[in-house]
């Protein structure tokens, strides 16, 4: 079993307490104290399941701005493009589909970065990450793609697009 | 005065009912679970719109809990399909196919 670390507990406590404030929506002292006690207990018991690496890796204004730019400007662009393509496919009668599972390489190193890329791929309609394996120190993604036209590096370029570059800027050191 | 909001809320509810067709018909368990997940998301949207229409915040709290618990049943069925069927229920699965 992993050990509970102080930064992980603080991060979990802040998230729990914000959620408490959201649900109660009042700043009376008794509510604040009860929320703090409950959040601290929950954080002490569950922090070791949630946070394994550095807890405050994003405490850097330039990095935070990069991440915000990715989630507000770059990613929604890809999302709208993929959604319109999916709408065209569905309203055109679901013809000319070529479903297949392709294996694409990646070069991200931290766990956060890998999870973020897998979630970004899954959130764009038309591609779903099915499994990640690690070979030769590099992650390989098995992706179900609704129009599997190519394989290997070429498919990786088509699926990941601009997302991997921005994710590396935000999540890698 | 906010007739448009209630119209959209009813539309989302009707879409959730249409998604139920796949939940009843679906040949495999994964199909049913996907349809249930979509119905859950659509009901959350309908609840947001109805809360705005009626001006009562309690519906938003219910929608938050619905969105949080939607993940739990999906993960449960996913895990069951991945592991439980092979070890414990292998004979049942073979019989049904």
């Amino acid at each position: 079993m992993r050990k509970t670390k102080a930064p992980a507990v603080i991060a979990t406590f802040v998230v729990c307490f914000l959620f408490w404030l959201l649900l109660t929506w009042s700043v009376k002292p008794q509510e604040l104290i009860a929320g703090a006690v409950v959040s601290l207990a929950a954080a002490l018991f569950s922090a070791r399941f949630f946070i394994h690496e550095k807890a405050f890796w994003f405490a850097n204004p330039a990095k935070l701005f990069t991440g915000l730019f990715y989630w507000v400007c770059v990613f929604p662009g890809e999302l709208i493009k993929a959604n319109l393509h999916m709408a065209k496919l569905v309203l055109g009668g679901c013809k000319n589909l070529k479903p297949g599972i392709v294996k694409i390489p990646s070069s991200l190193e931290s766990d956060y970065g890998r999870a973020a890329l897998a979630n970004s791929i899954t959130l764009t309609p038309g591609t779903i990450t099915m499994e990640i394996v690690e070979e030769e120190g590099k992650p390989w993604y098995y992706v179900h793609w609704i129009e599997a036209e190519s394989d290997g590096e070429e498919a990786g370029e088509a699926i990941k697009g601009r997302m991997e570059k921005w994710i590396r800027r935000f999540w890698e050191k | 005065m906010n007739t448009d909001l209630i119209v959209f809320a009813v539309l989302f509810g009707a879409l959730a009912a249409v998604a139920m067709i796949r939940l009843v018909k679906g040949p495999t368990g994964a199909d049913r679970m996907v349809a249930g997940d979509v119905a859950d998301t659509l009901i959350c949207c309908a609840m947001i719109l109805f809360a705005l229409y009626s001006g009562r915040g309690i519906y938003l709290d219910i929608a938050i809990i619905g969105a949080m618990l939607g993940i739990v049943d999906t993960m449960l069925v996913g895990r069951f399909l991945e592991k439980g069927r092979r070890e414990k229920h292998a004979d049942v699965a073979e019989d049904s196919q």
């Binding site: 499994e131 | 495999t28 993940i71």
Partner: protein, 115 residues
Amino acid sequence: MPMWLKILSDVLIACGAFFALVGVLGILRMPDTFCRMQASTCVSTLGVIGVALGGLLHAIFAMGSASTAVKIAVICLLILITNPVGSHAIAKGAYKAGIRPETPMETDDLGRDNE
């Protein structure tokens, strides 16, 4: 609430309704299990984002209620964060449980590597 904001909010909600319709139609019409999952992603991305943005405009400018706005934003974020985890688990579980499309897939790297 100014008229153009009202119209903008309605247009955003209508966009969300359109993509929700596309997702539900895709679930009904797509040929196999994995393609249905792909279509269902439409509902939980642009469908939810459209409704949440339209609802945010309405909550801020017509109702003027901060708690409503924050709660709508949190619902949208929760669905966007949790949905990929769920579809990842279902897709992996369905493949491991032996569910395959009726017409075999042309490229199937996962099946090839597991043999």
